[in-house]
Symmetry: C2
Subunit: 359 residues, 2 copies
């Protein structure tokens, strides 16, 4: 059906529909919100009128009168990290299932944008907010100064359960998992490549690494903490590691992110005398695209991103719907190991696939 060419007539309101259908305003509203209270005949009359006028209910007026909204807001720190994309996807699915709509706002890890978006969501009176943060300092700043009464759950950061629900992944156990895998596949002389100390998840992964090393009594040869956790930082770390690897002093590397791992693999492979995984195994973290796409696919720790989004949404909606008897909870999810070439014995079957899209 083509757009009706009524020109610049503002928008049909519920009143217009009522007049056209020959019923009262209240009845029109009931057709939308309590169809059971209305005679089928009446309902049909009204629906026909709505169609005729291309009526679109005004969500603002609705939320205002009803005092509630059907949207859930989500603040994401980084759209280029596939973990957060997964989180968004899980949240979207859960929200849709519950009849809500997910609105995503991107902060680019800027504290200022984070609280700005929080404010916008609060003003819009969304049903709940999913706040995804990377950095515990940002959390502190936000928790102190944005006294939101909107149900909010923290994603990706474990927080004192006082004010919010939270859903996070156990980074320490992930670090432990990665390290144990290396050890179980025969590596004995390990290095850890981490990152800046402000990144809480990275620190926890380091702790997990340390525990595993101690438990198994293998050698912790070296730790590098580059300024960032991207590919370039990985490359540099790999170069730094090279001499010891060549001397056989290091036979396994645990990297705190996949990007780091990819850079490390790249650096190590650039040395012709070295082969990954035969001479040195590398394991990453996050199950990012970079881990699939690496020339040598990289073993990694997969974070249950979708689950995080799903659980977070369920928690926030629970709080929104039953705020009375809602109790804040901190859910901690467990990451899983994904084995690929970078840690496998030669000749083992190669894991391949794609995560990407098209244009």
């Amino acid at each position: 059906m083509m757009r009706s060419s009524k020109g610049a007539r503002p928008q049909a309101s519920m009143g217009d529909v009522a007049v056209l259908a020959g019923v009262s305003l209240g009845t029109v509203s009931h057709v939308l919100n309590h169809p059971d209270r209305v005679t089928p005949a009446t309902a049909e009359k009204v629906l026909r009128a709505m169609a005729m006028l291309s009526y679109v209910p005004n969500g603002n007026a609705r939320s205002l009168a009803a005092g509630s909204s059907t949207a859930v807001g989500m603040v994401l720190p980084d759209l280029s990290n596939s973990l957060f994309i997964d989180v968004a996807r899980g949240a979207e699915t859960a929200a849709e299932r519950a009849g809500y709509t997910l609105m995503i706002a991107n902060s680019n890890t800027r504290l200022e944008r984070e609280s700005q978006h929080l404010r916008t969501f609060t003003q819009a009176r969304v049903a709940g907010i999913l706040l995804t943060l990377n950095d515990s300092e940002h959390f502190a700043a936000i928790a102190d100064d944005d006294p939101t009464t909107t149900p909010t759950v923290m994603l990706n950061l474990a927080v004192p359960r006082s004010q919010f629900c939270s859903v996070s992944v156990d980074n320490q156990s992930g670090g432990h998992l990665a390290t144990s895998h290396l050890i179980e596949t025969g590596r004995r002389r390990l290095a850890f490549v981490g990152g800046p100390s402000s990144l809480e998840p990275v620190q926890h992964r380091a702790t997990g690494f340390a525990h595993a090393v101690r438990e198994h009594g293998v050698e912790h040869v070296r730790t590098i903490n580059p300024a960032g956790v991207n590919r370039a930082d990985g490359w540099e770390s790999g170069v730094a590691l090279l001499p010891q690897v060549l001397d056989g002093l290091i036979d396994g590397v645990v990297a705190a992110t996949d990007l780091l791992a990819a850079g490390i693999v790249q650096a190590l492979s650039s040395e012709p005398r070295l082969r990954v995984p035969e001479d040195v195994a590398v394991v990453g973290y996050d199950n990012n695209q970079a881990a699939w796409d690496s020339p040598i696919p990289i073993t990694t720790i997969a974070q249950p991103g979708e689950e995080m989004g799903r659980v977070g949404t369920e928690l926030v909606l629970n709080e929104a719907q039953r705020s009375a008897d809602h109790v804040h909870r901190s859910v901690v999810l467990t990451p899983t190991l994904v084995v690929r070439r970078s840690t496998q014995h030669p000749g083992a079957p190669r894991n391949d696939g794609a995560r990407g899209g098209s244009s």
Copy 2:
């Protein structure tokens, strides 16, 4: 400042603020919207009262009364495609600069979700909508049945300029660019790897390829159209191409996406007698992460994603603010060539870098 522990008091309203400040409701409103009409002393009194009550204006009531909103909605088809992430980033920047907030909704390329999100945005009375689509069939369905009066601009798809503004990238010229690059670097016997015919952008790239081949009078040896445009499809296509490449019948391949190109490079490289780019050059499309991350970094066509988002936002805001004298425009942006190893002469400097994020 800690959250005031007033318990479950609903929310302070503008009226409460007015009473506390000892002024009228209208004055409080003016403090927010027309600070110039209010005495500094009064303003301060009001602001103090707001702080005291943790007052958060109700955006719904605001938009309702004012008849306008300060949000821009964006519908994205695929969060895992870095092109769209770039678009979102550009849009976000432009929206922020204009004092608007960008709300992103993800449709996962599902028509049903697309129109659902459109409806939500329309109901929320956002100032404008950025509709990003992949598929011209979806456009047809949506244009016909969603008679939105909200300013809307189409992104990524060139559409008849009748109903909407649109911003798209000239895929034909991109295909031409990629092909010419191959020819200019000495390739003479070319193959094209495309995709399903429903993907309009891919078809345009094919057209550009064909034109370039004809213009330069080089040989168009073969076209393959796999069922998809992902890495796996690329691998299969690469395998199919292998015999002819080995026989020297093909010395250059234009792929319709980077994922395809990555798969092709992978397949070709698995043949020890073959070297990329010495024996065969490969060029991709999109400037996705996969093109950076490939063992042999892949020359590609970069789409101006951020610019697309920025221009789209400017158009939609223009229409929202000056709908009277707004004229629909179709902006077509030009893609650019990014040269990497996969098409370069041996010994040429290697282009490296990273696009990724952290966790």
